[in-house]
Structures are given as C-alpha cells and as structure tokens.
C-alpha cells in the first residue's frame, strides 16, 4: 500500500462519514456544513486522480456556489440557531428506493467498464493540458455527449421553474 492509497482511504472515509452526517444531523445548518466537508472530500479524490480541473470546478461550483447558497437560504428562511425538525417525511421509502437504484445502476455500469481494474498511470503535463479542450469539445459534439449535456440543462431549467412555482405567492383573486 503506497502513500496515495492511504490518502485515498482516509479521504473516502471522511467523505462518506460527512455524507452520513449530512442526513443524520438534526440541525439544518450543521447538515449544510457537513455537506461542504463531503464535497471537499470529493474534490480531493479528483485531485488524487490527477484531474486538477475537476477538483477546482468541484470546489467552485459545489462549495463556492451551491453549498454557500444553501447555507444562505437556510440562514434567511429558518431560525438558524435553534432549527430542529423531523428528519424524514412520509416519502422516505421512495427516497431509499431511488438511492439504492442509483447506487446499483452506477455499480453495474462501473463493473462493466473496461478500465475498472487498471491502475493509475502518470500523465505528462502536455497530456493533461490536452484533456480539458478534449472534454470541452466532447460536451458540445453531436457524436459524444451533447444529448446528455442538454438533457441535464433541461432538467435544471425544470427545477428552476418548479422552484419559482412553489415559492410564488398564492393569490386567491387570480
């Protein structure tokens, strides 16, 4: 077991522990802070895989934007200091099903992937530099991932409209 593997195991343990704390923590603010730790762990995992770009994007998008907005929203809408509520609602079994289904699907996909058993190779700086433009082109090229990319955008748009609908003030006169 080399040094990187030790770091990997420690990071994974912290990430998973933090993720468990996100769903078991009673206070919403605490849960959000644990979420930050879990996301940071994922960023470290990306860095261990020599995917520096992803590590940085993970921190920018998930910690710098999403987690901070979540905390900000909780601070604005709840009593941040003493908010303690029930942790599950009636739909918990559906969430469990979806989570298990996603995990099974991901595990299935990864096990069928050819690269699952291969060890990490060293990337030269030149190769690493070429990877990011390649990924950018793959995201907008019709042969590669343009469809999943656009579907994800539509999903986000739907979530946005849904959030506006839920948050809109109900006006009985109209």
């Amino acid at each position: 077991m080399n040094f990187l593997q030790v770091v990997f195991i420690l990071t994974s343990a912290v990430t998973l522990g933090a993720a468990v704390m996100v769903v078991t923590s009673h206070r919403m603010i605490r849960a959000a802070l644990w979420l930050v730790l879990a996301l940071f762990g994922v960023a470290i995992l990306f860095a261990l895989l020599q995917a520096g770009f992803f590590a940085v994007v993970q921190v920018v998008v998930y910690i710098g934007a999403i987690a901070i907005l979540v905390i900000f929203a909780v601070m604005l809408t709840r009593h941040a200091m003493q908010d303690e509520g029930a942790q599950v609602n009636r739909g918990w079994w559906a969430a469990v099903l979806v989570a298990l289904g996603t995990f099974a699907g991901l595990a299935f996909l990864l096990l069928n992937w050819a690269g699952i058993g291969s060890s990490l190779g060293e990337l030269s700086a030149d190769e690493a530099r070429k990877l990011i433009p390649q990924m950018g082109q793959a995201l907008v090229s019709a042969d590669a991932y343009v469809l999943p990319f656009e579907v994800a955008s539509v999903l986000l748009l739907a979530a946005l409209i849904g959030a506006i609908y839920i948050a809109r003030e109900k006006n009985p006169q109209v």
Binding site: V36, V57, G64, I68
Partner: protein
C-alpha cells in the same frame, strides 16, 4: 555559478536543496513532498510577515490622507508599531460566547486567513518562480475565494449573536453579488491569453498590458476586488458606526487578529492579482537577462494598485446596502457580460489578423461599450431621480439665474 545564483535564486536554491536531499538517499517522492512543504511554508510565512509591514504602510498613508501623522512613536517613523500591536493581540484573552458552535466558531478565523494565503500558491513572482503553475490558475483563485465566504458564514452563524448573524447576511449578500461581475471580468484576460494559468497570462502580455486592451474588464475587476475585500466604499459589511463590527463581533484576541490580518492580506493579494492580470505581472525591462528582477516589477505594480485601494478607502464615503446591490447587479454585471461576449466574438473574428489590428479593435470596442453604458446609466438615473419643484408653492425664479435658464427651488 555565482551569476546563476544572482539571476534566479529560487530555482537555484530549489535545485541545490533537491540534490542535497537526494544525496542523502531519500526517495524521490519524499524529496518532492518535502520541497513542496518547505515552499508552501516559506510563501505562507513570507506573506504573513509582509503583512506586518503592510499594516504600518497603510496606517501611515491613511493618516496622511486624513491630515494626521499616523503611527509615529514606536521606532523611526513608527515602523515598529505593528510589532507592538502584534504582541498586544497575542496577550489578549480568548472569549468564546455562551451557546457558540465551538468547532465552526474556531474554524472561521483560520479559514479566513487560509483562503487568502491559498491564492499565493499560484502567483508567479517572476518567470519560473511560482508555488504551483496550475493550468487552471484563474479557476483556482475563484474556488479559493469561495472558502473566504464560507469563513464569514461560519463566523456569523457560530457566534450565537444577532449582530454577527446580521453582519454575516450583509457580508455574504455583498460578496456573492460582487463575485459574479468579478468572475466575468476575470474571464476576459483568460480569453485574451487563451489560458487560465497565471504565468501564461503574464507571458501573453508581452507587447501590451491587458489594462490597455481590456480597460473595462480591468475597471470592473478592480472595483469588485475592493468590494470582495470589504474595503471602503464597500465596507457596509463591517460598518463600525452602524452594526458594531459585523460577523466578527464576538471574536477577541488573536482570533480577531486573524480576521484583521486576513483582510489586510486580502487587500494586498487582490492588488497582486490585478498587477498580474492587467498590468503585465513580472514583465518589465531586463527581465530576460535577470529573471529575479521580475519580482521587483511585480512589487512596484502591486504597490501602485494597493496605493489606489488605500486612496479609495480614504476618500470615498460608504455606499448604502441597496446602492452596492444595484451597482453590482444593474451596472457591473450587465457591463461585464457585454464586454465578455463582445471580446469573445471580436477575438474569434480577428483570429488571423495582426496584433495591432486586434488590439485597436478591442480598445475601440471597449470605448463604444463604455460610451453606451454611461449614456444608459445616466438616462436611467434621470428617470429614477426626476427634478421636481417642491410641492405647495411655486418655484422661486431668480431673475439673475433665470437669464442662464436656472430655476432655484
């Protein structure tokens, strides 16, 4: 050998130490780890120590702007004043308020300083001397900035104090708002240099600095950086006269000192970033012969920017919260978006032409955008602030003023 040492001391020492440690029979991985550890320690400690001098410089200058002497008792020109302050703050008591969330409460000051120090990892001091020449440098700087916001949030929530929470709200609202135009403005040099690496951006400014080619982006970046630091005129987040001190109200001793040092260091760090992104970083005469001279040029350019920030702090009144918000969302963000999109289109359209044509086109585009934006903002200001005579009595017409068309109210 002596000449080599003089030209590029950092790499000379690095190579020497590397050979020395490898000569001991340590494995290459351990040596690399040790070298990174030493480098990180040196950069972080150097930045912190530099901050002591910076506090003296700023207080002295700030005093002069207000027609005072500034610190003048301890040592020549009061230069040892920050050391006295430092010793005092070391000796102060730590107070943890009742009901505080202990871990986030203590984590916040550390994170506040760390977020600033982390930026120093990607700063190229001169050609070939940077902590880490990341090819995602610009993105890294944005990411690290997010950690600073996290520190303020933590301080606000964990202090168990209404003032701290309110101050945290204000701070986060301001920081989040100004991050949007800042990132957009930061993308313009990235676009022009075709790289996110800091050293690449400096190297791309060989002929002309980006403050000439992208003046609006430079202006927006400068303003938003000042706002991100929380300096006047954007110091509403810790308006002493209104909300005591904002998010850091419950902190005492060195924990408060960390926030204080973090703020000073942040102001200096954004000056360094501005110098790198828009003023050509380490570029200057004779850097090709003596690379280490680049550090001097960088320091000079940073000093000029920092001087401007202090001057702004000393001479501008404080914006209200609604004014800072409308400046960020109604003026800076659309302006930054327009400049970014137009720069992208223009740069792509002129990809084959000479550097002169490209530069002139970019400058012209910036002037046109600036003209349109100033006309639009003036028109909207006139619409929202119509000049009306006072209600209830007819306007007093002064015959003398009437001749030149003026109406006294």
């Amino acid at each position: 050998m002596t000449v080599e040492w003089f030209r590029d001391p950092v790499n000379f020492i690095t190579n020497w130490l590397n050979q020395f440690l490898l000569g001991w029979g340590l494995p290459a991985g351990v040596v690399a780890f040790l070298m990174n550890l030493i480098g990180a320690g040196l950069v972080a400690t150097g930045a912190m120590l530099f901050c002591i001098l910076l506090i003296w410089y700023e207080r002295k200058l700030y005093g002069r702007i207000q027609d005072r002497l500034g610190p003048n008792r301890v040592g020549p020109w009061g230069i040892f004043q920050p050391f006295a302050d430092m010793l005092k703050i070391f000796a102060k008591e730590y107070i943890t308020p009742r009901g505080a969330d202990v871990i986030p409460y203590n984590l916040a000051p550390i994170l506040a300083v760390a977020a600033v120090l982390l930026i120093w990892a990607v700063i190229p001091f001169y050609n070939g001397a940077a902590g880490a020449n990341l090819n995602t440098g610009a993105l890294y700087i944005i990411a690290v900035g997010g950690l600073g916001e996290l520190a303020i949030i933590l301080a606000g929530i964990a202090s168990n104090n209404k003032y701290a929470l309110l101050g945290g709200f204000r701070a986060i609202a301001l920081l989040l708002s100004y991050e949007v135009p800042m990132v957009l403005a930061l993308l313009v040099p990235v676009l022009l240099a075709r790289s996110m690496g800091m050293n690449d951006i400096v190297q791309a400014q060989g002929d002309v600095w980006y403050i000439v080619m992208a003046p609006i982006a430079a202006f927006i970046f400068f303003l938003t950086s000042v706002a991100e630091v929380g300096r006047a005129p954007f110091d509403i987040i810790e308006a002493e006269s209104e909300i005591v001190a904002g998010f850091n109200i419950e902190y005492s001793g060195l924990k408060f000192g960390m926030f204080y040092v973090g703020e000073f260091l942040h102001a200096f760090t954004v000056s360094v970033l501005f110098a790198i992104l828009f003023l050509g970083g380490w570029r200057g005469p004779f850097v090709d012969q003596v690379p280490v001279l680049g550090a001097v040029w960088l320091l000079v350019k940073t000093g000029v920017t920092y001087f401007l920030i202090i001057l702004l702090r000393g001479s501008m009144p404080r914006y209200r919260t609604d004014q800072t918000m409308s400046l960020a969302w109604k003026i800076l963000t659309p302006l930054a978006l327009a400049v970014l999109v137009l720069t992208a289109i223009l740069d792509k359209a002129l990809v084959g032409s000479s550097d002169l044509v490209r530069g002139l086109a970019l400058v012209g585009m910036n002037l046109v955008v600036w003209f349109i934006a100033s006309r639009l903002s003036q028109a909207s200001y006139r619409r929202s602030h119509p000049v009306e005579p006072p209600i209830g009595h007819a306007p007093v017409i002064n015959p003398l003023v009437d001749e030149i068309g003026g109406v006294l109210e």
